[in-house]
């Protein structure tokens, strides 16, 4: 059966990159479910996978926007740490672990504001067009982490997270679903719809696809880039809140590879590093592939470190395919 004989919806589905990544995810889940019947596909495992993935998903949503504009943000792990330290220091000076709800609320706002402001600053530098996003955010990676270390002397302060925050967002559940997962799902749906169905979304794609055309069409490219990087920073700030709630500490040294993990997930999900193409749905799939691999390999009794090997190979393959597609299009 050739492609033209397929119904319209099937052809449209095949054109989407998510279709292929989703197929890989389905195959993985099926394989692990069959190899370890009743062990992999349990409520506990699914919940555990989702909780582990929640923070990466929130970061990945922001990164999807950034990469669609043909940008990159290497600083997210450091921005998360800086936002966590800012919120944590406030909490420590306002009651520490026993802090009240008001302190919790203020610390959340601080984390979000620090993240968004840092992102906006990086976005403004990228928007000048003088410094590549890679360098701006590489500088941001070092500077944000350095500021966090200066503020804390390099040690994770104790009492950075209020017990109220940990017991609610951190360990709490609604209808059996952890709040962290609910929050990540809401963020994903909201920003997925924003990207796919609004003027802000289509302008994001246009800027990554052809910035000169976007400018000529009257899109304020610079201002839009500031918003996109600020959104990334805001979500890194939200990630900081989720981290504090979940682990109760700032983990200053624990986020140096967040950027690589998140970029990997976004690219696995079919978002093009060259800009112009991608989706939040793809990123969801891309976040879950490494998460499913890790849990699955443990369940079937293979060393979980094979996960790193597998993800690395799939990532290189995905970008190779993307490059081929790009060249095919430019030839026509």
């Amino acid at each position: 059966m050739t492609r033209s004989q397929l119904p319209e919806w099937a052809r449209r589905a095949l054109r989407r990159n998510e279709a292929w990544t989703f197929a890989i995810l389905v195959v993985l889940v099926a394989y692990f479910s069959i190899s370890a019947p009743g062990k992999f596909f349990t409520v506990y495992d699914i919940t555990q996978i989702a909780v582990n993935a929640a923070i990466y998903l929130v970061l990945g949503v922001g990164m999807t926007y950034v990469i669609i504009t043909a940008g990159i943000d290497l600083s997210i792990g450091s921005v998360l740490v800086l936002a966590a330290v800012a919120a944590g220091e406030y909490t420590i000076h306002h009651g520490a672990a026993g802090a009240g709800w008001f302190t919790v609320a203020v610390s959340i706002v601080i984390a979000l504001a620090v993240g968004a402001a840092w992102g906006a600053l990086q976005g403004a530098l990228v928007a000048t067009g003088k410094i590549p996003a890679l360098i701006v955010t590489l500088g941001g990676l070092g500077a944000a982490l350095g500021l966090a270390e200066i503020a804390t002397g390099g040690q994770d302060p104790s009492g950075a997270a209020a017990t109220h925050l940990q017991n609610s967002l951190g360990y709490g559940k609604v209808l059996g679903i952890p709040w962290l997962v609910v929050l990540a799902a809401v963020v994903t749906v909201v920003f997925g719809l924003l990207l796919g169905g609004t003027r802000f979304g289509v302008h994001t794609f246009a800027i990554g696809s052809n910035p000169a055309a976007a400018r000529r069409a009257g899109i304020p490219v610079g201002r839009h880039l500031v918003k996109v990087y600020a959104l990334m920073g805001l979500l890194a700030g939200l990630g900081a809140v989720m981290w504090l709630a979940s682990y109760g500490t700032t983990s200053i040294a624990g986020h140096s590879t967040d950027n690589l993990k998140v970029i990997t997930a976004v690219v696995l999900g079919g978002t093009s590093l060259f800009g112009g193409r991608g989706s939040v749905l793809g990123t969801v799939i891309g976040v879950f592939i490494p998460a499913v691999l890790t849990t699955g390999l443990i369940v079937v009794g293979v060393q979980q470190y094979w996960q790193d090997v597998a993800v690395g190979a799939v990532l290189v393959g995905a970008v190779y395919l993307d490059q081929i597609r790009k060249q095919t299009r430019e030839r026509t």
Partner: protein, 278 residues
Amino acid sequence: MPDPLLAARGVVKRFGHVQALQGADFTAYPGEVVALIGDNGAGKSTLVNILSGVVQPDAGEITLEGRPVSFTGPMDAQRHGVETVYQDLSLAPHLDAAANLYLGREILRGGFLRPFKALDRPAMRRAAVQAFAELGVTLLDVNAPVGELSGGQRQSVAVARAVAFARKVIFMDEPTAALGVVQRGRVLDTVRRVRDRGVGVVLISHNMPEVLSVADRVEVLRLGRRVASFRAADSSIEELVGAMTGSLDEPDAGNGNGNGGDGDNGGNGANGDGGTAK
């Protein structure tokens, strides 16, 4: 002759030490295809960039329907009904035809979705299909990213975008440069159809046979000035090339530069304001 639609008088533009335009004139009439030709460096692009709002002139006057205008940017020109089809087409290859058509002018949904600036994709798609039909263009797949379309179809999308919003003037910069014979014919048909709707079409082209076949009038730029204006029906390629390169000036030295050309045009019933070499 009706009143000029878009006119430029004595436009001057310097880039550093280079004087790209030294008092250039230009006139476009409604319902007319006017070709703007000139050798490389004659100032065509600068003049078009000024008339379409991309670049601001140092001196000179531009009038649209008799009223003086000064465009602050391409968007300002577009608000006045002046559109441009750029040589590189200026499309976003990853977006579909409808999204490209409405890029920067998206149709938004009303009701409770209004504050979110949600796109009304069905409305944009319907309007896009209609816009292409008006140009006699059938797109194989309206949902395909324009990067996957053929060169001719991409060109059609760029032209359709300009046509859909141009109420007065369209500039087309080398619209057929990258096209095959059949596609070229379609684009030129489109140019004529747009003209017949009363819009002024300004065609920038290096292809002299094409200029003569599609343009009603030809204006020639040389060294930053308008040196001649021909009626296409009464002109030959040799005349156009002569005016572009200045080689026609020399034999008429006794009459003063280019006055011979002026006389020729006048005699042929060409537009009276052209044809001077100074």
